[in-house]
């Protein structure tokens, strides 16, 4: 007992000291001034022509570093799965009292009817942001989060009632991820590389431009929306 407590006091001190040293060296090593832009400059020159995306960040996220995005989707997926695993294996007894929405914290009729009004609006906004991700700031992640919040709103208003059943969420989860990989694999089948952009880049600035990037972003948006909706549903105390 006493040994444990002492070791608990001891490690933080050691760690903080090491950390302070590390950050000190970090600050010494930090470069002030213009960072070299080796990869970035190449992308700046090639990006617009190669991919036809008006938003270069989108070109990087879905084109040049598409694999990172796939990995990130997988992380969200892993996180949602793990949360489901952690919170669905409950002992039962504490399950009921753990729900966030006992009836008395019902948020009121005003909120409920407003949430009904807002949900389609937010869905629209989410889709707008996803679909115009290659033209303007925003894209799959941001729009996906908005989709998730839109789907969660009715749950918040109506005592934890979930508008989508879990099967649907799972279907979208799996389907969107599959879509992303399949778009990537299609290029591979044609003898190109994995995740190589398909279709023509088109005219910069038009909605139907940048080849397959909008499709990829749609997949990303749906996936993010579904994962986060699942996460929120789990965290708010609905058992799967």
């Amino acid at each position: 007992m006493s040994r444990e407590q002492r070791s608990l006091e001891w490690t933080p001190l050691l760690f903080s000291g090491g950390l302070a040293f590390l950050l000190f060296t970090l600050f010494i090593a930090t470069m002030f001034g213009e960072p070299p832009m080796r990869a970035g400059a190449m992308i700046q020159q090639a990006g617009g022509v190669e991919l036809g995306a008006a938003n270069l960040v989108t070109a990087v996220v879905l084109g040049y570093r598409g694999l990172d995005t796939l990995g990130e989707l997988a992380i969200l997926f892993a996180s949602a799965t793990a949360v489901g695993l952690v919170l669905s294996t409950q002992n039962g007894e504490s399950d009921k009292q753990a729900s966030v929405f006992p009836d008395k914290i019902f948020l009121g009729e005003i909120f409920e009817s407003a949430s009904r009004l807002l949900m389609p609006l937010l869905l629209l906004l989410g889709f707008y942001i996803i679909i115009h991700g290659h033209l303007t700031p925003g894209g799959g992640f941001q729009g996906g989060v908005i989709l998730a919040i839109a789907l969660f709103l009715p749950a918040l208003a109506r005592s934890g009632e979930i508008p989508l059943n879990h099967a649907t969420i799972r279907l979208v989860e799996g389907g969107a991820g599959t879509l992303f990989i399949l778009i990537g694999l299609m290029a591979l089948m044609q003898g190109e590389s994995f995740l190589q952009p398909l279709l023509q880049p088109g005219e910069i600035g038009a909605l139907f431009s940048a080849g397959s990037l909008p499709l990829l972003y749609l997949a990303v948006g749906l996936k993010v929306g579904a994962e986060l909706a699942a996460l929120l549903v789990h965290l708010s105390g609905e058992s799967a």
Partner: protein, 92 residues
């Protein structure tokens, strides 16, 4: 002139963010801590706008200030941390 205004805004935002971080870790009420983290995210969002990263700013705004705060608020209520504010630490 424009440069210096941006510098001052950056200074202000960084100040707000650092103090929000300190409040988040030192305040006694968990609710105040969660709110401070949201404030921190908001400051970061504005800073990203200042740094010419609209995409990142949007993400940080939606994810950090929105979703993450929602998750933390759910956690507060689910973990029963709203009531456990110690006596004397009222935030009114």
């Amino acid at each position: 002139m424009v440069e210096s205004i941006e510098s001052w805004i950056a200074l202000l935002l960084v100040g707000v963010m650092l103090s929000a971080a300190l409040v988040a870790l030192l305040s006694r009420s968990h609710l105040v801590a969660v709110v401070s983290v949201s404030v921190l995210s908001l400051g970061l969002t504005l800073l990203f706008v200042l740094l010419k990263a609209p995409d990142v700013a949007m993400t940080e705004g939606v994810v950090g200030a929105g979703l993450s705060s929602l998750i933390l608020a759910l956690a507060l209520s689910r973990l029963g941390l709203l009531r456990s504010t110690k006596a004397g630490a009222t935030d009114e």
